[in-house]
Each structure stands twice: as C-alpha cells, then as structure tokens.
Symmetry: C2
C-alpha cells in the first residue's frame, strides 16, 4: 500500500511527531483515504518513509488501536478497523452545538491535549514519592495564623454588613489586600505600586489569559520563552495568536529584535530552567518594548524564596514608560488551593482591564480569603511565614542537589543551579531513548518525576523537573533511591 | 453653521440617542469637522434637526462640557473648546498598548458605559433607603450555620491534606458541592443532573460570558430577551456577536423562527419583568432549538423564593436532546458576596467547557467556600434557610405591593405581579419627562430606585425595579413615603 500523508502540516500544528502522525492517520481513516480493512505499513517502514522515529510510529499506532481505529493482529500486522457506530454518533454529537472561532481553537487544543495525556508517561497512579506534583504549604505556625486571619475576616464581614452580608468588593478585588500587596511590592521588590492599578485574580493564569485576550489579535505574534510555561502557549493559541519562541540560556531569555507587541518573560527565575535574567538583558527588553510600543508581561511566579545570588530589580521597577505588567501569585508562597494572584498594570491599562474583568466577574470572588490574606499580610504573618519557609525550602533544595549530583544520579542528571524557587531543573545526560525507558521504570517503582518536554515549545533535549517543597529529607532520600533502582532496571535491559 | 452628523450610525452603535449624539459630536471635534471656537446650534434647533428630544441634546452637551470639549457661555451659547494638551496626551496614552479585536470591543463598551454612568440619574450618594442596591442575606440562624460550615471546611482541608493544604479541586470545582447541587436540582426542579456535567463558576456571569465566548462567533446572532440582563448584552457584544432582541409579554419571551444558534432565556422568572414562561412556549423554544441545532441558555437566576403560582418544569428537565445549559447561582439565595454560580451543561459540551475554563483557572478557586457550601447543603441547612427566607421575603413583597398600589403611589406605578424573586418590577404610569423629574426628586430625598432603562435593549416605556429583600417593613414604609414626598416636589413644579 502506498500511504501519502501530509505529515509536515500536522507536525506544524501538533509539534510532537507521534501526535502529528496520530492525527494524520486518524483523519485519513475518517476521510476514507485509508480504507477499512487495509493494512498499514510496519512501524519500521513508516518511520523510514517519513523520517520519524520508530517509537513515534508505535505510539501513534497504539493510540489508534486503543481508540478502535486500528486493529493489531499478532503475526499479521496492523489494519484499519471498521468505524464503530458509537464513535460516529459521538462525533456527530460533538458538532451538534455551535462553536465560535475561539471555541474551535479550544477544541483543537483539547484534542491534542487528550492525545498528549493518552501518550503521557509521567503520570503515576498513587506514587510513593512524587517529584511531579506538590507545592507550597503552611507549616503549623502559619496554619494557625491563617486560621485566625480567616476568623477575623469572617467577623469583620459580619460586623461591617451589620448582619446582612451584602458587602461586595470592587471588580479589582478587596481594597485592603491590594494595599497590602502594594506595600509588599515596595518593600520586597522596590516597585512603586498604586493599589488602584492592582487587580486580583483567581490565580495568575487568569491574569495571563485575560491580558493575552485583551492585547493579542488573531494572527499576531507573542514572544514566549522556550522552554516556558505551557499555560502561556495555550493562552496565545486560544486567541489565534502565534507563539514566537525565544531562546533561553544561562542568563535567561535572549533578546532579539522581534516583530511583536506582546512579550512574556520570567526574569526573577526563568521558568522552568531557573536562570536569572541579567541586568543588561532587562534593559534590552525594556528598550525593545519602547521601540515597538509593546507590553512586557513579567511573570514573577516564584521569587519569594530566594536563598542566594543578588536580587535584581524587576522589570516593573525599571520601567519608566508604562510598558510592564507585573504578575504575582500566592499559590506558590502560601498553599496550592489558595487561588489568589494579581496583576499590577500600567495606569492606562487599568480602565480597560477593569471592563474586561467585569464581563466575567462583576464583583470579585473569594472575598473571605482575600480579606484573610490582607489581615495575614498586615499583621506581618506573611513575612514571617516567608522567612521560616525559606529556611526549610533552602535546606531541602540543598539536600536534593547533593543527592542528585553524587554517585550514579550524577551520571544521569545535570542540575541547572538556581538560587530561588520551588523546583529543581535538571538535564538528562544520556540518550532520549534511555530517558523514556527510565521514566517507565520510575512508574514501575512508583516514583513520579516531571518530564520537562511539556515546557518545550520547539523540541529540546530531555530534562526533568523535581518539585521538592512538600518532601522532607527522608522522602527526598527515598525518592532518589527509587530512581536509582529504576535506573538499575533500565541497565538490566528490563524496560525495553 | 450647518452641522452634518451621521447620527443614525451612532444610534445603531450606542442605542441611546443622547449617547449617540455625544459620540457623534465628540468624534466630529476630534476629526476637526467641528472647529475650535465654532458655535453649536441651540439644543432646540439640533433636536428638531435630528428628530431627537431636547433633553437628549442637553444631556449630550452637558457631558461634553464636563469633559472640556464644549464651553457654555451664559447668554451667548455653546462653543467648541480648544482640546487641552492633557486630553491629547491621555488619548495617545490610551492607544500606546496593543489591543486585540476583542479588546477594542471591550474598549468601545467601556466608553459607552462611562458615558452612561456620567448621564445616569439613579445613583444616589448614601441614600437613606435604597431600592436600587441590596440583595439576599443570611439571617442570624443561617449566619451561625454558615460559620459552622466554614469551620468544618477548614478543618477538613487541614486533615485531608495532613497539614499540607496542597489539595486542589478539579477545574469544574469541588466534587462534593457539585454532588450536592445535583441532588438539589433533582429534588427542587425535577432535573436529572450528573455532577460530572456541573461546572462551578465565580458567579453566574462568568458562566454566561464563557459559554457565549465558546459558542458565539463574530457577526453571529444571539437571541436575548428585551428587556433583559445587560450582562448578556455585553457578553454578546464582546464576542463581536449581534443581539437579536426578543419581545417579552405577560407569558415571558415570545417565540419566533429566529435565525440563530444561541438563545438566552429566564423561564422561571423573566428578568426583569417577572413573567413566567408558559408551558407551551417552553415546548416551542425547545422545538426551535432542535430545528436549528441551537443551544438554549436557561438562566435560573431567581426561582428559589417562590410563594405562589404553579412551578413549571425547567427547560432543562424537558430537554431530551442535550440542547439546554442550565445556569444557577447562590449569590441570590445566600448572600451577595458569595460568588458561586454553576452551569449544568449537556454531556457533549462538558469536555470543551472544561478545556475553556482551564485556560483561565487550571484549578477551581474559592475552594474553602465551595466546601463550606457543600456542607451547608448536605446538612440540610440550605433547605431550611430557603424556607425561612421565603416566608420573610414573601411578607416584604406583599407589603411593598400594598404600599405601591394604594393611594397616590398607585397612580404612579403599575406593578407587574410575580410569584417569586427578590425584586418588584413596575411600569411608570405617567410621562417619561415626569419620570426623569421624579428620579431627580428621589435623589434629592435620598431614596434610590433603579431605573429599568438599563435593561431595555431597544427603547421601551419607563419602568423601575424595586429591590426589597434587605428592607424591613419600617424601611419599606419610609422608602415609599420618601417617594411620595418626591412626587409632591414634582407636582409643585420644583424639579424642572
């Protein structure tokens, strides 16, 4: 059988070759180009034909078999299965409601995410140790202070409303919390912030998505770090915008004369590599934004737990032109289920952001937690919490670095040093194939690591992220030990 | 001076004539068509020239004077003022950041809203009695039960996370609350709901806006009740969609063979008139949706406090085709600052809604309040709360009806009867001019009523909304008394 697939087009759309192949085959089956009952080439043949790895072909085949599009018969090969009635119905059902252009882009992203999830290797059911999932938390002292702050906020709400609970907050959120954030930014970052220009969000992703939607037109380009935060890739794609990937090195994002008016950057600690953006590059980015009349979105997602290095001024503090939006979050500094983030915007952006936010949330939600957080900050509990947690996290970071750089672990991973943050980024020193085998072995041993491929917009070298703040020394040791046992399995050739 | 303004185009865009005139003049000044120093026609002349009321012209002139575009000199007339430097700078500043097509629509809406607010008459600073602002609240018993529920949710979070607070909810929100809502819908509305298809939102407006964005393409039409909820008008405009206004009578929305695939309706209690959608019209709407492969968004914003009439089955309960999204909220039943709403979507919409919501909020916010509300419902506190408040609100509704339909008040307003809900809708029996005078007099007497013009998409007859749940009998009496005093002022010719 001669199989002609427009694979290049699919690779452009789906980035991952196995995913591109999966979609190309799936649509060929739907279109009837690949007829029911026809035999597919062996994975080796197809791999040679299209210049992709045999693993990619196998993975695409496996996904299509799992979904019932293909049928594999031992000793005979892989065949196009008859489309089941249920599948047809499901498909017609999925088109029976109206969909905007925006909705269609969300649907396309959903399709590729579902496929990614189907092909994902780094999710372990109930791992013994997870380096992939986990975040900041409150210690006993902070938990007790937080409880008091919540109780205070509840009492204040009842008293203020004289038993009526009708008080609502401005669309930008509780005024007290915005003032507390402004004070914190002045003290800890040297940023002169007017609370009027601070908008609270249900987590920083909401701020990123809404600002992108406000500023990025269909077909326009946005500069994004590569590797970077996939939420930003998604936000850009949802608007119909184009991701302009920017290279990242040991000094952070590498400036260029991009043709764009929107740029996302994580200067305090590049996500996910941990690099700090150099002072000269900060100035270069600001000069670029000025030339292009562009907006820089400075995502300060993870700079509170600094244990070394000199703190550099945020772009927002250096900005004299109103070109920088500064985004922060309490999810990474307080606890994961506290979805409070904020954006400090240039004064002339505040009015339109207010109008945009009002469309979705005419009054600010989660008011109780906002007011509790304001109380927690004003009383000084937040600063004390940061100081205590910084010590704890620093010790855990150092210990994990030590474990991962010594002995056999040191032959597997190369740690990229970082002086702040809640995860450790490490390059895999060996082959991509061994990395895939290693991850399967880790799944077997119930230790969960985060494959950094999800952060790569263009293809990059294998790497992993290790989230550590939720793990004590014993757990860190156990996790690394499980990884070493996993690697032993690979060495014994038992994960092929 | 011969003044030629393309007013029809502006009226189409801004709906209100004074607003259309305001924008037409403003842009003519910017464009230089109206030169600095030139004299404008007297308001009477301009009114005749363009077939608008003299009041509209005066209001547009006043707004432009207030903004410095025009200068009025007693005895000489109204002139185009020189554009101030600051104004120019502000304007160039407001274009110095990138704006998407979506952002530009938000900006246009913002401009007209600011103007509306400038011309608004129904906002009284610190009113003695406000029928315009106020909503549901907890009584002492419910406040105490809610406090317990919050404490329980806090303890459960701490115990469940073993001191780590890392637990986060699914993007659709807390599973316990979704199950409690499903049970409530089954019991109180006859709706068979799968919690998997229930997505929690930060208030119902977030649900309305996101679903509109998902389903309504640029240039496409959406059917909206007129009068109706302005948030929906805004959501449709933000997507670049067109509002197709549907007439409303005493049996609710009047069905037609609309050319559209998205329709918004408030069957339980039409917003704002209070009409209940008849059973035959419910069937007609569903048949229409089936023919058009359309989605009906059933906004059940205010049906919990029913004190009369037979409850009709919600569209969602009658729907056999997966054509209805059912939207509910706790803001109107619990208290105003509790921003928890939800959408029950057809099963095939759930996946894409999940993906769309994830873009903004990868995990659900306000988890503490979600869990507290689940507890409050599961323990039966919610049903008891509804029963108690229903009695209280019913008594207040009856009392306000009595006050407004007797004596002189009865000569001013015609109440549209309603057997549920937290506000009363009344048509103004006299002339529009007298209504404007009356509102000014009410402002003087510090009693705040809500002008229903904001709910009219096309122009309609003068009407007012009276929000009453936050007012006891004494306050209701005082409010109506202040209105009667206001009307006396108008009668004395003192509000011209």
């Amino acid at each position: 059988m001669e199989l002609v697939l427009p694979l290049a087009r699919y690779i452009e759309q789906y980035r991952y070759k196995y995913l591109a192949l999966y979609h190309a085959l799936r649509e060929a089956i739907h279109a009837g180009t690949l007829e029911v009952g026809s035999r597919l080439p062996a994975s080796r043949e197809l791999a040679e034909l299209y210049g992709v790895s045999r693993g990619s072909v196998s993975q695409a085949y496996e996904m299509l078999v799992a979904e019932g599009y293909l049928k594999a018969t031992v000793g005979r090969g892989t065949f196009v299965a008859g489309l089941m009635q249920g599948m047809r119905e499901k498909q017609s059902g999925s088109h029976a409601f109206p969909l905007s252009a925006w909705g269609a882009r969300i649907q396309a992203d959903l399709d590729s995410e579902l496929s990614l999830a189907a092909g994902s290797l780094d999710l372990v059911a109930k791992p013994r140790i997870s380096f992939a999932d986990g975040g900041a938390a409150l210690d006993a002292k902070s938990a007790s202070d937080w409880k008091s702050a919540l109780a205070y906020a509840g009492r204040a709400a009842r008293a203020g409303a004289k038993g009526r609970n009708t008080a609502t907050a401005d669309v930008f959120g509780d005024a007290g919390l915005r003032a507390a954030i402004a004070a914190h930014l002045r003290r800890s970052r040297g940023i002169q912030a007017d609370p009027k220009d601070i908008c609270l969000f249900s987590g920083s992703m909401q701020a990123l998505a809404l600002l992108t939607q406000l500023m990025l037109g269909e077909g326009e380009q946005a500069v994004v770090e590569d590797p970077g935060y996939p939420g930003i890739f998604r936000a850009v794609r949802a608007c119909g915008g184009k991701v302009l990937p920017a290279a990242v090195d040991a000094s952070g994002m590498v400036p260029q004369e991009w043709d764009a008016r929107l740029l996302f950057v994580t200067p305090g600690r590049q996500f996910p590599t941990g690099a700090v953006l150099s002072a000269s590059r900060r100035r270069e980015l600001l000069a670029w934004a000025q030339r292009k009349e562009a907006i820089i979105i400075e995502d300060d997602y993870d700079s509170e737990f600094r244990w070394g290095g000199r703190p550099l001024e945020p772009l927002r503090a250096l900005d004299r032109e109103g070109r920088v939006v500064f985004i922060g979050s309490f999810t990474n500094t307080m606890f994961t289920s506290l979805r409070i983030g904020y954006a400090l915007v240039p004064p002339n952006v505040a009015a339109i952001l207010r109008s945009a936010k009002m469309l979705y949330e005419p009054t600010s939600p989660a008011l109780l937690e906002q007011r509790a957080l304001a109380r927690f900050m004003v009383r000084g509990d937040y600063d004390k919490h940061l100081r205590r947690m910084r010590r704890i996290y620093h010790a855990r970071y150092d210990y994990l670095c030590e474990l991962l750089s010594s002995g056999i672990a040191g032959q597997l991973f190369e740690i990229l040093p970082s002086d702040t943050g809640l995860h450790l980024y490490a390059k895999w020193r060996r082959s991509p194939r061994e990395f895939a085998d290693f991850q399967r072995a880790c799944a077997y041993h119930k230790v969960d690591i985060r494959d950094a491929v999800r952060y790569q917009y263009s293809s990059g070298d294998p790497a992993a992220c290790f989230l550590f703040p939720h793990l004590d020394e014993k757990e860190l040791r156990e996790g690394v030990q499980l990884m070493l046992e996993s690697w032993a399995l690979v060495q014994q050739g038992r994960m092929k």
